[in-house]
Structures are given as structure tokens and as C-alpha cells.
């Protein structure tokens, strides 16, 4: 249910139609006075529209606004950059540390391997690498006894029918 004010306003703005309009007009005590009021209200509207204030220096308005937005965005941006830079530094340090450790470990292994003298003689290596044919020497066994401190190695070969052809001592 619309109030009188709502109906009046709708009527002024030509928003009342049909039965609603008829009922409203019928309820008016003085139709001609109401029409004069409607005309008066429309004149006020026209007056307000005609006197609307224009924006002078519109381009300067936009320019000033742009500068202000840039200014207000700048601290937020630099703060974000600072946070990002901080994280970047921490990550970089972390990766740098891990890489350095890995390089150090690889270098250490390589150097130590190179520096460790081979304790096996050429002959021993050949013996150990030799294939003993099980059909020819089924009970063949090769045992090695080694004392590195004294640089002594005893090789005990048992059950061989013949020495492998690769054997350097042959």
C-alpha cells in the first residue's frame, strides 16, 4: 500500500498508470490545483537541470587524480616489493648454501679418491678378475690374505688344473 507521498511523487514523475492513476486523481480534492503543483514541481526540476555545474579543467582533474592514485599506490607497491625482495634473499641464500655444500662434498670425494693409493698389485687384480672354468677345474678355489700395513699379500690358489691364460706371470 503506497502512501500519499509515494503516489504523489509517482504522479509527478508520470509513473502512475491505469487504475492506480484513476484512483489517485479521483482522490484529489482540487484537481486543477494539483495539476498546477505538478507543473511547478517540473519547473523546479528543469531549473535544477539548467543550472547544473560544469567541471572546468576536467583534464587537470584527471591528471591530479592520476597523480594521487600513483602516490597512494606507491607505498603499497614498495612494501610488496620489499617483502618479495626479502623472500628472494632468503631463498637465494638457502640455495647458495646447499649448492656450496654439494660442490664441497663432490670435490672432497674426488680428491680423496684420487689420493687413495691402489693397494692392489697388477697381478692380484688379474688373478681376481680371472675366470676359473668350472668344467676344467671344478674344485678350484682362490683365497687372498692381505696385510696392507706391511704391503704383503698372499694368494692361495688350490685345485687348478692349469693357470688362466691371462695370467701375467705365465
Amino acid at each position: 500500500m503506497k502512501t500519499f507521498e509515494e503516489k504523489w511523487t509517482a504522479w509527478i514523475d508520470d509513473q502512475l498508470t491505469g487504475r492506480e492513476l484513476e484512483e489517485f486523481l479521483a482522490s484529489l480534492p482540487d484537481r486543477s490545483a494539483a495539476e498546477a503543483e505538478k507543473q511547478s514541481a517540473k519547473q523546479v526540476g528543469s531549473l535544477l537541470r539548467e543550472q547544473a555545474m560544469a567541471l572546468s579543467n576536467a583534464d587537470f582533474f584527471s591528471h591530479q587524480l592520476r597523480e594521487r592514485l600513483d602516490r597512494e599506490n606507491a607505498p603499497m607497491r614498495s612494501e610488496a616489493d620489499a617483502i618479495q625482495t626479502g623472500w628472494w634473499t632468503i631463498r637465494r641464500l638457502l640455495w647458495g648454501g646447499i649448492t656450496s655444500l654439494a660442490v664441497f662434498a663432490i670435490c672432497t670425494v674426488v680428491v680423496f679418491r684420487e689420493k687413495t693409493p691402489s693397494s692392489r698389485s697388477q697381478y692380484l687384480t688379474q688373478i681376481l678378475g680371472a675366470q676359473v672354468d668350472p668344467t676344467v677345474s671344478p674344485n678350484a678355489t682362490i683365497s687372498m690374505f692381505e696385510k696392507k700395513d706391511d704391503h704383503v699379500t698372499v694368494l692361495w690358489v688350490d685345485g687348478l688344473q692349469s693357470l688362466p691364460p691371462e695370467y701375467a706371470a705365465k
Binding site: 514523475d13 490545483a33 498546477a36 528543469s46 531549473l47 535544477l48 560544469a54 582533474f61 594521487r68
Partner: protein, 203 residues
């Protein structure tokens, strides 16, 4: 709604511009500012009656719009959303100014007591001659009349008459019901008819 740049770049839709703004494109926001700066300024000027204040408040409104553009979901048109920001900024400013000044200028109860809803406005007995009524004087009279309305009444009458907004758009912009908008329009018109009758009858 006619806008400044709708003629300049009619191919770029408002919604597209808003989406670009939401992706952080400040150039798109510039375009929206160009479209609405004059109307926003004019609207605020009519509310505050001071060019410098209107300028500052229009700037504040656009800054606020830029900062909260992510919250625009497209449920209403952009200009309704923008006008809501404009009205909030302006009405807040007027309220603060009123508190500082300690005035009772916007006392709605006083206004409602002064106006009989069914009254016929009385023409001024000694109207000023049309020839003496210069534009500046008319402007001053309108400013004085509007100044006697509460911020909410100012907002509805200006959005309706100068922006040609629909009731539901005004309601959305002000965050009130359509009935409230229509009621405020009724009283604002009555008040302005009383105060400006000699002006509009002679201009």
C-alpha cells in the same frame, strides 16, 4: 545515461573497463573517470555548494572507487555503484561539517513540521523581475535552497532531477527503500517549490 566519453569510445563497454580496472589497469580507470567526472563533480557541487570542496570530494570518491573496484560484482550498473560511493563520501562530509558547525540546518523533523504534505505552495508576493535575475543570482538562490535540505533529501532530488536516475537506482545508491526515496522526493520538491517559486517563474 549520457556520459562524456560514450561518444569518444563507444566500442569499449563499461563492464569491460571495470574488468580491466580489476586486473589493475589504471588506464581503464582513467577512461571511467573521464566518463563520469563532470556528473560526479556537478552532483557533489549541488550537494556542498563549494567548488573546491566539490573538487576534493570528487577526487576522494574516485580514489575510493579505485581502491574498492575489486568489490564491484556487477549486480548493479557501474554508475549506480559509483554514485553510492559518491553519496557516502559527500553525506559523511556534510554530516561531519554539521557536527563541527553545531548547526540544525538538516533537521528533517523541523522541515516536515514546516510543510503540509497537501499544501499548495504560495507564490512570492513580490517576484524579482526577470531582467535583474542574472545567472549567478539564480545559481546562488538554488544553492541556498538546496542548502536547506538534509543531505539525504538533497541526494534524492539531485539524482532524480539532474541525473535522471530511476527510483530503484537512487534507492540502490543510497541504500534505502524505493518508498523512502519517493517520500524524500516528495518533501524535497515541496521545499524547493516553496523556496524557488519566484525564481523559476521569472527565469
Amino acid at each position: 545515461m549520457q556520459t562524456e566519453a560514450s561518444v569518444a569510445q563507444p566500442d569499449v563497454s563499461e563492464l569491460e573497463l571495470v574488468k580491466q580496472c580489476q586486473r589493475g589497469d589504471s588506464a581503464a580507470f582513467d577512461e571511467l573517470v573521464v566518463r563520469y567526472r563532470t556528473r560526479v563533480f556537478g552532483m557533489i557541487y549541488n550537494m556542498v555548494h563549494n567548488e573546491q570542496d566539490a573538487w576534493d570530494l570528487a577526487q576522494d570518491s574516485f580514489v575510493k572507487a579505485w581502491k574498492s573496484i575489486d568489490r564491484f560484482r556487477g549486480k548493479s550498473s557501474f554508475y549506480t555503484w559509483l554514485y553510492r560511493i559518491v553519496m557516502n563520501v559527500t553525506i559523511d562530509w556534510l554530516r561531519k561539517k554539521q557536527v563541527k558547525g553545531g548547526g540544525t540546518e538538516f533537521d528533517d523533523n523541523v522541515q516536515l513540521r514546516e510543510i503540509d504534505p497537501a499544501s499548495k505552495t504560495v507564490p512570492r508576493s513580490e517576484p524579482l523581475p526577470h531582467q535583474r535575475m542574472e545567472r549567478g543570482e539564480v545559481r546562488a538562490r538554488i544553492d541556498q535552497a538546496i542548502a536547506q535540505l538534509s543531505p539525504e533529501h538533497r541526494a534524492v532530488i539531485l539524482m532524480k532531477e539532474t541525473e535522471d536516475m530511476q527510483y530503484h537506482e537512487i534507492a540502490e545508491a543510497l541504500g534505502c527503500s524505493i518508498g523512502t526515496v519517493m517520500s524524500r522526493l516528495f518533501y524535497a520538491r515541496k521545499k524547493l517549490q516553496n523556496l524557488l517559486r519566484d525564481v523559476y517563474e521569472n527565469v
